[in-house]
């Protein structure tokens, strides 16, 4: 037999086996569902859901469809993932750098934090932050105002709502400031390349981003007022805050535990990245007269990032997938709303679980693609 055929045959057999196994399961599921009088179909998505959800980013109540309930769950999952990723990254970078600090107290504290939080199961941490912290928080009527306007209570965090007038003028001024900064940066680079002079771009940028919006308040007719939460009595010992925005404690507990947990792994990625840059690189950079800030910004970080980004992408994916533990503490994410309540009310297990799986898959792949694009951008460009 010729070599080409020999190579192809095992692969053909593998494909055949996979197709057969998949076909067998599909066929089996079909027969079993038929026997039990369960019909298959996605038509239920347009039916009225008739259940309410605690917290939603879009307008939703029980008179909307199951599809809208799905969107509510999906958006809540994305919300908790995005906030979690931002906090985990900031905390992770700080702790990662702190672990390399020459200060004994700081690096030991950072090491303790990493070892402690990454070695306790996430579900336990979620329960801890929800139930232990919940019991420690005051009831609405006993809460003291933080900075006069925030109230952190057992029923959630109440913050003032922004009430804007001429919001668009304010946004235009903000955009103008950003455009101006970009133009100045490009100009500054040109000046540095041609004349070797450095312009104080950072300070100019800070100035612009404050001054332009400030002008919009003074002469653009923009005004901002706050709606401050007010205590409202429901019954003798039962109170809530009205007005302003309220963040449910479930969201806070979930974001907190996800961020604290994932930050430990990101911290290790950051530490590995920085330590992965050769000592000689820093010494060489210092020897050509760069100050420590410039060494970090121009020499160490660009190389460290290449080591940091790929494993950190994994952590972002983990965080997104771990957010499905929300169901344990009543945060209405995709799993709780769609693969929980909607599944129960319709009984469409195969349909709903398949949609949920596909959704998580798409979310993860989107994050991967985004991070791979960024990774390629900072990778060494071979010339």
């Amino acid at each position: 037999m010729d070599l080409k055929l020999q190579k192809i045959i095992p692969q053909l057999i593998t494909v055949l086996v996979v197709v057969l196994v998949f076909g067998f399961f599909t066929y089996n599921a079909q027969i079993n569902m038929e026997n039990r009088g369960i019909d298959f179909g996605y038509g239920f998505l347009s039916q009225e859901s008739s259940f309410d959800v605690q917290f939603s980013l879009i307008e939703y109540d029980g008179s909307h469809s199951y599809f809208r309930a799905y969107l509510v769950g999906l958006l809540n999952t994305i919300l908790v993932s995005v906030i979690g990723i931002i906090f985990a990254t900031v905390l992770g970078v700080i702790v990662g750098v702190a672990r390399l600090s020459p200060n004994y107290l700081i690096n030991q504290f950072a090491a303790f934090y990493v070892e402690f939080f990454r070695n306790i199961p996430l579900l336990l941490q979620i329960f801890f932050w929800y139930f232990a912290a919940l019991r420690a928080l005051p009831l609405p009527q006993d809460a003291d105002a933080i900075l006069g306007v925030f109230y952190l209570t057992i029923k959630g965090l109440y913050v003032p709502a922004f009430i804007w007038e001429n919001l668009n003028v304010f946004l235009y001024s903000l955009i103008a400031a950003i455009v101006a900064i970009v133009v100045i940066r490009i100009h500054a680079r040109k000046v540095q390349e041609t004349q070797g002079k450095q312009l104080p771009v950072f300070w100019i940028a800070i100035g612009l981003i404050f001054i332009l919006p400030l002008l919009s308040f003074l002469i653009g007719g923009v005004s901002l007022s706050f709606e401050i939460p007010k205590l409202k009595q429901l019954a003798t010992t039962s109170f809530i805050y009205e007005g302003g925005l309220s963040l449910p404690p479930e969201l806070i507990a979930l974001t907190l535990s996800l961020a604290l947990y994932t930050a430990t792994f990101i911290a290790e990625c950051v530490r590995a990245g920085i330590q992965g840059v050769g000592k000689g690189q820093k010494e060489a950079a210092a020897s050509i007269g760069l100050n420590p800030n410039q060494v970090l910004k121009l020499v160490v970080m660009p190389q460290a990032l290449r080591i940091i980004i790929p494993p950190t992408t994994n952590q972002y994916l983990n965080l997104t997938k771990n957010s499905s533990l929300a169901a344990a503490i009543a945060y209405p994410d995709l799993v709780l709303v769609f693969a929980g309540t909607a599944l129960m009310q319709t009984g469409k297990a195969i349909e709903i679980v398949s949609i949920t799986m596909l959704t998580y898959l798409s979310l993860s792949i989107s994050i991967s693609i985004l991070m791979n694009w960024y990774n390629k951008k900072i990778a060494i460009k071979e010339k």
């Binding site: 039990r36 057992i154 019954a235 039962s238 344990a328 503490i329 009543a330």
Partner: protein, 346 residues
Amino acid sequence: MFKYLKQLTSLVAMVAVLFTFTTETMAAKKSKTLKNTQKKGFVRCGVSQGLPGFSNADAAGNWTGIDVDVCRAVAAAVLGDANKVKFTPLSAKERFTALTSGEIDILSRNTTWTLSRDADIGLTFVGVNFYDGQGFMVRKSSGITSTSQFKDGISACTNIGTTTELNMRDFFNSKGISYEPVAFEKADEVVAAYDAGRCDTYTTDKSGLAAQRTKMSNPDDHIVLPETVSKEPLGPVVRQGDSVWEDIVRWSLNAMIEAEEYGITSANADSMKTSDNPAVKRLVGAEGELGAAFGLDNEWSLRIIKQVGNYGESYKRNIADTGILPDRGPNELWTKGGILYVPPAR
């Protein structure tokens, strides 16, 4: 001579083969679930993750409750021993999948009988072992004594995947009150969150409220409001498509209720064999051939009564004596002012 002998043996063998074949198909005709249960030697029963009075495990892992007793009754009828039950604790979310996928054969987990569940998702409800209705629990200190005192913004803790979630919406909508639903996957977490003060009210079936109240850090601080906002007939469920098994479970429950009606208890069941009442004699297996229809012997119901007791005994043992709901309310026999009424076993 030998020739005949040879023919005779082959004939015997053929008859034997034919006979085993026919008994096989008879048993298969009877019920696949019954056959599997008898082969395994235990009844696979889905229960709650811990609801005192209905299905609750003690520290040693012994399950008790009126839902548990339904499974024990089936085990007594089918296998002759009420203890031959394997209990699988299930959340509200998992319960129907566990049943339709064949992980369990009876779901006896305070499950409300509704049209869509019965017709839609491959399940069959076999009866009602507890008539219930949804209610609300609040803290005594709140001063609320009626649902009419509920105000906009009230937060309500409950379970996901239950009829409660739907009824709650119907109730608050009809009253025009805006509310915050906080829905957990497990009952224990609902109780913990409500107990901590996360919610103003906790809503589920009234029996559930009464049972969960016993788990609170201070039960006397909470009251169940008098209003009942829905009908919740709770009962055991089986998979669609095995009518013999369905009948066995249905009549195991019915036998317990009818035994109470005729005053047959676990203590006097044997002596009732000589009763003058033919209905009583049928229930204790001294008359008629009732078991044959399910492919069981004639003492199936006697074993249920002797090993598990009648419905009244089960209620008293699990719900009244534990202080959950001493008053039987609608769950009293029809002859005593309740609505428990089962078709006659004859």
